[in-house]
């Protein structure tokens, strides 16, 4: 059984344009289905506005989806009560993109990491403190960083605090929403290495939401490509990157700068009339689906 199964997830945002004009509906997530196996690194890629972050937030119900199902270990989290959902979030954590705005600037790093333990009433004060120290070591921070404020850390260190906080409750799945996008490339490499290490060590499962296709190709086991709220292609990373089938995937991959100045540059422009936007995903090869 898959650890996380998303089925026909839909999120519509209604935009009102004042009194005299009818509201319009933005289909941010439009019938998205996928599942993630335990221990998997699942990449969700797409350009801005494709709905990848909204999908991640709907899974945790940080945004309430319009319809659909999200099964975690076989239970539909969308039918959970508030209290039950809060409990479920112990197993499902998120790391955000911007370590500047996602950490409370008035709290010390140690308190930020301890906060989830307090909210979930875990352990005595001494036990919590010990756990925080352990988490700091785990993500490669120093114990004398505990008393510092977020502004005293670099971007990479701040993201490590964000990861430590996400791991405080020993979750089964971590949703990394552009978690390394804002970082310099060498810092990004360090944080990614840490995330991969923790995956093995703590048997974590990741939903890795990103727009950096080169990074996703390098670290994810499977990838889904989103375009205008739908998954247009999904499959094993190697298969999807080496033989993309959907016109959008092809255009997207061809737009990624190639690191070899002499490589041929075959830019493929997207022709929106060349495919049926409502086509369902179908299996086109061994664990490779495309909406063609």
């Amino acid at each position: 059984m898959a650890l996380l199964q998303v089925r026909n997830l839909v999120k519509h945002f209604v935009r009102r344009h004042g009194l005299w004009r009818p509201p319009s509906v933005v289909k941010a997530v439009d019938d998205v289905s996928f599942s993630i196996e335990e221990g998997e690194m699942f990449g969700l890629v797409g350009e801005s506005g494709s709905g990848k972050s909204t999908t991640g937030r709907c899974i945790l119900r940080l945004i309430e989806p319009t319809s659909g199902d999200v099964f975690f270990r076989g239970e539909n989290v969308l039918q959970f009560s508030r209290a039950r959902m809060r409990q479920a979030r112990r197993d499902m954590q998120i790391v955000f993109q911007d370590p500047y705005s996602s950490l409370n600037p008035r709290m010390r790093a140690g308190d930020i990491v301890e906060e989830p333990l307090i909210i979930h009433k875990l352990g005595s004060k001494a036990q919590r403190r010990a756990r925080v120290a352990e988490l700091f070591t785990l993500v490669g921070l120093d114990e004398n960083h505990l008393m510092r404020f977020p502004h005293e850390f670099s971007g990479g260190q701040r993201q490590r605090i964000g990861i430590a906080r996400a791991l405080a409750l020993s979750p089964a799945i971590v949703i990394a929403d552009e978690a390394v996008s804002a970082l310099d490339v060498s810092i990004q490499a360090q944080v990614v290495r840490l995330m991969l290490e923790l995956k093995d060590r703590l048997k974590l499962t990741y939903l890795f939401i990103a727009h950096d296709l080169r990074l996703v190709e390098n670290i994810c086991d499977r990838v889904a490509v989103m375009y205008l709220g739908k998954i247009v292609e999904m499959g094993n990373t190697h298969s999807l990157f080496s033989s993309p089938r959907h016109p959008y995937t092809r255009a997207l991959l061809s737009a990624v700068p190639v690191l070899d100045p002499d490589a041929p540059r075959g830019r493929i422009a997207l022709d929106p009339t060349s495919f049926d936007a409502r086509a369902p995903l179908k299996e086109i090869g061994a664990s490779h689906w495309a909406a063609v």
Binding site: E47, H211, R214, N218, L252
Partner: protein, 271 residues
């Protein structure tokens, strides 16, 4: 060998701090020939943007240039009177910023912004300036240019705004364009279009380009030569193939090793 178009010699820039001054750019020297593209790479805080601002004398206090020369078309820009500098800035050397939403004036029609760039330097009337603006929007492939000139920046997509920025940069037919992370804020498909456009305009107008970026993919696509900065100093400089395939400096090697998809040995290509 002809003199280079831009010749930066021993540039040092310092920011006066509360306790002690911080050296942002340390004894930096490089050249750009006419029509050439130099990629200036480095991580945040390495001094890339400060270098660009120093060349154009747009550096704000507490930053100040403490030594060095910036020779452009044979004159030292750092010692020009401000009045003469204004004739260089925007006309002979122009700048494309990373964030087109903050670089464009939100309450001014894009046509007026392009026309302003023209009339500041040329004595032309508004009608002629708008005609030239139409030409420029055509050159950056914005369809229906005459109507688009009446739009405000918020009515344009991110890619279109960056095209408007490029049109403004080209308004006075500069010899050198400094592009500071021109595609960083854009989606990858839009980035590809903007890079294609820059490549086309560079050939059409024989532009020299100082391309500031942290993305080695963009470097591989655009640059003839590469200069790598680290902590304000130039650590390595050379032709793009040499830097990408056989970097000599330990920092360059480390930086390239961190780039996802960059294979050891530097064959780089993934397809």
């Amino acid at each position: 060998m002809p003199a280079p178009l831009l010749d930066v010699q021993h540039l040092t820039v310092v920011f006066d701090g509360v306790r002690s001054p911080v050296t942002a750019v340390n004894d930096l020297s490089f050249e750009i020939a006419a029509g050439e593209t130099l990629g200036l790479v480095g991580e945040s805080g390495s001094g890339k943007s400060v270098t660009a601002f120093s060349i154009l004398r747009l550096l704000q206090p507490p930053g100040r240039v403490t030594s060095g020369r910036v020779l452009f078309e044979g004159r030292d820009l750092l010692s020009l009177p401000e009045r003469e500098m204004r004739q260089v800035r925007g006309a002979r050397i122009s700048l494309i910023f990373q964030e087109p939403m903050t670089a464009l004036n939100p309450v001014m029609r894009v046509g007026d912004q392009i026309a302003e760039a023209i009339t500041v330097h040329d004595r032309t009337d508004r009608v002629a300036a708008w005609d030239r603006a139409v030409e420029l929007l055509d050159a950056v492939h914005i369809p229906d240019a005459r109507r688009r000139l009446r739009d405000y920046p918020h009515q344009l997509s991110g890619g279109m705004r960056q095209r408007v920025m490029i049109a403004i940069a080209l308004a006075c037919r500069p010899a050198l364009v400094i592009a500071d992370e021109p595609t960083t804020a854009l989606d990858v498909t839009i980035q590809a279009q903007v890079l294609d456009l820059l490549r086309e305009l560079r050939a059409r107008y024989a532009l020299a380009l100082l391309l500031i970026t942290h993305d080695f993919g963009v470097i591989a696509e655009m640059a003839d030569r590469v200069a790598v900065m680290h902590n304000g100093s130039l650590v390595e400089e050379g032709p793009v193939r040499q830097i990408l395939r056989a970097p000599v400096h330990e920092y360059t090697q480390r930086l390239l090793a961190a780039v996802p998809g960059m294979r050891a040995g530097g064959d780089g290509g993934r397809r």
